[in-house]
Symmetry: D2
Subunit: 363 residues, 4 copies
Amino acid sequence: MIRGWTVRQAIVFCRLSASGTTDDKGQSPVALQKYDLLADMTRIAVLTSGGDAPGINAAIRAVVRTGVDRGWEVYGINHGYAGLIAGDFRPMGPRDAGEIMQRGGTILGSARCPEFCTEAGRKKAIESMASRGVEGLVVIGGNGSQTGSHALAEMGFPVVGVASTIDNDLYGSDITIGVDTALNIALEAIDRLKITASSHHRGFLVETMGRNCGYLALMAGIAGGAEAIVIPEYEMEPEGVAEVIHSAYERGKPHAIVVVAEGAHYNAERLGRYFQEHRDRLGFDLRVTALGYVQRGGAPTYADRMLGTRLGAAAVEELAAGRCGVLVGMRKNERATTPLGEVVSSKKPLDENLLRLAGVLAK
Amino acid sequence: MIRGWTVRQAIVFCRLSASGTTDDKGQSPVALQKYDLLADMTRIAVLTSGGDAPGINAAIRAVVRTGVDRGWEVYGINHGYAGLIAGDFRPMGPRDAGEIMQRGGTILGSARCPEFCTEAGRKKAIESMASRGVEGLVVIGGNGSQTGSHALAEMGFPVVGVASTIDNDLYGSDITIGVDTALNIALEAIDRLKITASSHHRGFLVETMGRNCGYLALMAGIAGGAEAIVIPEYEMEPEGVAEVIHSAYERGKPHAIVVVAEGAHYNAERLGRYFQEHRDRLGFDLRVTALGYVQRGGAPTYADRMLGTRLGAAAVEELAAGRCGVLVGMRKNERATTPLGEVVSSKKPLDENLLRLAGVLAK
Amino acid sequence: MIRGWTVRQAIVFCRLSASGTTDDKGQSPVALQKYDLLADMTRIAVLTSGGDAPGINAAIRAVVRTGVDRGWEVYGINHGYAGLIAGDFRPMGPRDAGEIMQRGGTILGSARCPEFCTEAGRKKAIESMASRGVEGLVVIGGNGSQTGSHALAEMGFPVVGVASTIDNDLYGSDITIGVDTALNIALEAIDRLKITASSHHRGFLVETMGRNCGYLALMAGIAGGAEAIVIPEYEMEPEGVAEVIHSAYERGKPHAIVVVAEGAHYNAERLGRYFQEHRDRLGFDLRVTALGYVQRGGAPTYADRMLGTRLGAAAVEELAAGRCGVLVGMRKNERATTPLGEVVSSKKPLDENLLRLAGVLAK
Amino acid sequence: MIRGWTVRQAIVFCRLSASGTTDDKGQSPVALQKYDLLADMTRIAVLTSGGDAPGINAAIRAVVRTGVDRGWEVYGINHGYAGLIAGDFRPMGPRDAGEIMQRGGTILGSARCPEFCTEAGRKKAIESMASRGVEGLVVIGGNGSQTGSHALAEMGFPVVGVASTIDNDLYGSDITIGVDTALNIALEAIDRLKITASSHHRGFLVETMGRNCGYLALMAGIAGGAEAIVIPEYEMEPEGVAEVIHSAYERGKPHAIVVVAEGAHYNAERLGRYFQEHRDRLGFDLRVTALGYVQRGGAPTYADRMLGTRLGAAAVEELAAGRCGVLVGMRKNERATTPLGEVVSSKKPLDENLLRLAGVLAK
């Protein structure tokens, strides 16, 4: 799409460019900063990309039903950006969005798409939408996915991102779709370990997901009453963990739970091995539970259904109002939009107060 | 406690007044607007009152552990205001607050206390604390409980309320302890009914708690994908409900779920009876599930443990800072304090946008 | 089908009779006692009828996959006997039985069918199968459904019943599909009520399903540690219930749970009303939770998936071996077959030892 | 206790031997094969040993309440055989067994006790009971624990074992306390992985507990619809697993789940590493979830509460009837007793039919 063109013009352009036309400098038309949303937009599409998160289906449902309520047509795109390029679209009516809100995962599927990282791939993607008359796109996903949506917006295509990742490491939203469910699943595991730990006076390690972000581990650790929490943001040496556990036993605690983020240097595997190797000296070992993808797959909690519903509806409103190139998320419990460029170039900090609170509460 | 007195003076006064002394106008010392928190406060107490709510134990734990962390002594009071009057106190250390966060209900118990509604009763309550050197009180509860805490504050006793009720009808906090768990339990029931409803093309009524407030029903209805929601704030005639269900069937829905607040004029019993009586004409009846107190009793969710933890810690901070006579709650996802007088005299409105959204999404 | 005919002959007959032919006595061919299963049976069908029960989908999956494994074709019939008469069949391959085992309800649906209670209706049903070359039928359901399958067997059609009902009132199987899940859901509710009951020293009534059978209430009451259990088989007067509760309080119990079967004369509604009316004299009232269809709709437990799997596979083996007109169920934890005539004419007794045990354990 | 002595005599003996007396051959009184249960037994004890299992508390409750119902005194022994030797006893009445049935773990605790493996240790244990007038012991546990109880029985002490282990590897009971809960927890994890797996077309490895026994993995695999199951009893090479997964994808399955027993040579760690190393050639890797002790710690299911209740009550009946030196368990869904000598010297076989069924059903 050329700077200043309307989407309709872009669609025409895309059709032409598909048959060989380039822009007036003989280059492919990337890096457009502006676009014009036609007042009569009637056809949008929605895709999910990156890791699935419980609540995504509620967002899809809200996009479809609020879009249809406006008189629009809504397409679902299968398998993320790969399906976008390949043209794997399906029209979705209200019934197609029925009975999905209570299910985890994403009914649209997700897939890796190295091709979309190239300009050629993204051009194909825009052509794929243009050729179907799709004039707006909702991208539900986390950091990687919104980097993709930002690239599309840069090329001038009207796109709105919806903040979704269980890792809660996406700038622009205090909380993202899937986090609440993932935390509840982690807590359920911790509760169970505490029960068996109390019977045996044993120590347990629980590894949560979260990639390089310690949020899941920190919050699960606080709400689970963990004795120690090991996260990438505040690394802890094994001997420090051992000291905390010793001290907990001395204060009369019947068990010790250590929550570890998968992204910590001393993750569950390394920490478990260290304790095994130094077992005789330390006086105890730590049994490991690695939750893995179990945290992703649960039925979405109330909060994640509600968050998905609100953000999905908000994305449609943004498109309708012509406010594109943004991420819709929550800030201070209210809907907030952030330019995608800011989203992908910023890092969300971890609240240090919470770590301090964790220390006090574990006493 | 007389206006301008310190707590220590009040304690002396209370001891005296217990043996017959009154204030300088010959009246019992009620309706004091001010008090002075001693800088060297070292002893506080915590009680739970009114309906129990999942997450209360997390709040108790946070009060105990953050209080002890400050070097204070913390007393738990059994059975609410009744125990306060009767002097049913127990000292609580960090271990007494162990293994309770993951449990529903309240380990301190709750009870009705008509005596506390009288000035004489409240005076006894203050004496009960004063005689033990208790200089600050945390009251965890909803509207009724905070009316009580307000009365104590009016009499000059340093008290901080913590917002707790599954009904979410307490002014001063966007969300209260227990709401998230209650909503998740209601959703679980709705999900299950949908499954059996789909097999039979049947209609189901689910009655939620919430007293005169429709919040629980409205939010469970939205997140549960209910076809109709009946709440006290927007009453619906049975024929209107029937129309919605007919329309849902016509649009191809495999089932119909109606969520009803217990406080609605047409609650589950009345609505169920109406549909039974008009079954032949309407073409279907509605099976009733009345969740009742099941909604209170679950293990607290992540959100309720976190909310209880934060508000419990905040209450201790407020006492420490001498900001008493307030409720601690959450506003826009951040801790907020509201004067208890405002809390008990205001009504929390229901967000009408949500009701509109519910209509669009049910399509 | 005429006595002594083979199924192939019956199919021919049915095709003829569909165009007006009757038997040699000018009557429709009902009440056949015998049939011949062709050695080369290659096409069977499966239907679900009556109340849905968690685990039914596991049985459907097992019928489809073990049938296909034998080289057979398997048809699913939608909406029970109604779909059988209407010819609502769909061929099912292994993939059609994928991702269903973990879901409650029945993917085939269920419906009432008054027409099937008539001979004419059943004749149509047989014709419906015969015209598609279906030579054997698996009927998954409870008492009403197996009465239907018995009628088909009487008419000579090869049918095998699979024992499925959450009520556990079906003769011929110690345990039926859905019971374990229903009991776990009831227990979950009781556990939650106990938590809130302990906080308030309150009494609660829980009403379970079970129609005229007290099994669900009795077992949930024992495993839930109920103070009193009211079932149709051993009715209890309200005053007797009150006495049990009083006695429990006197022995220091923090709560009182009464589990009531919906089929008891004093069901939850009547018992609740009685306690409300005599509240002042009795000193307490009982809060009511009516679980209703929530008990049906859960994701099947391990035991119900396994039971559905085993019985579904067993039904195919019975058809393959030519042992028709029987119900497959479990006796003493092993697969057992019972003639359908015996199934529909016998009543399953309740184990009185369990009721005695309940009394001892509640102490 | 000397052959032919009564328990009362043994008690006297134990008291004497504690002060230096030995038997008439100058040896410590071990290896007695017979004992006499006094008709007037009035004091028994119960301990839990080895791994905890959900449902154990129901068994403790049943021992206490049915024992007390007979007019006996019942002691709980803390921390297994270690507490038995150390004399860590507590009298238990009906209220002490209240509110425990719904909780996982064991309220009596469990611990390792190398000393009990020596004759001297076991002699101390008998003296410990004799000195308190304890005339019968219930030991709730699995293989290791029943080896201990067998040793006590050999020494002439009246002991009854209760079959409890989540591994289901104990001879003498078709099913043991804790297995049903452990399987339901494993299934819950598998269900969640399937949801996320379907969104991404991914493969997942789930490792279950079970020590050297493949029962948990096999049953969870069948009821979870796993594509492959790897157990110690029927080892599978990584290439075989890869083949099964390839074939599943080719048949159109949206995911692949492999359930692995921790005791298999290719456990989750080894299998995961193999797939990682051969990822390029195989075309996919497998993400690992190691459930670990999470499987032990759940709230007991209906089946485990009922099983614990029945076996606990049965143990008391056996003691009352003087049938000691046996394990109480379930065979063909009925209570069965097996001599402890047979229990500890026999191996429970795995049902090969189930493995075959698993193959057919995975199609």
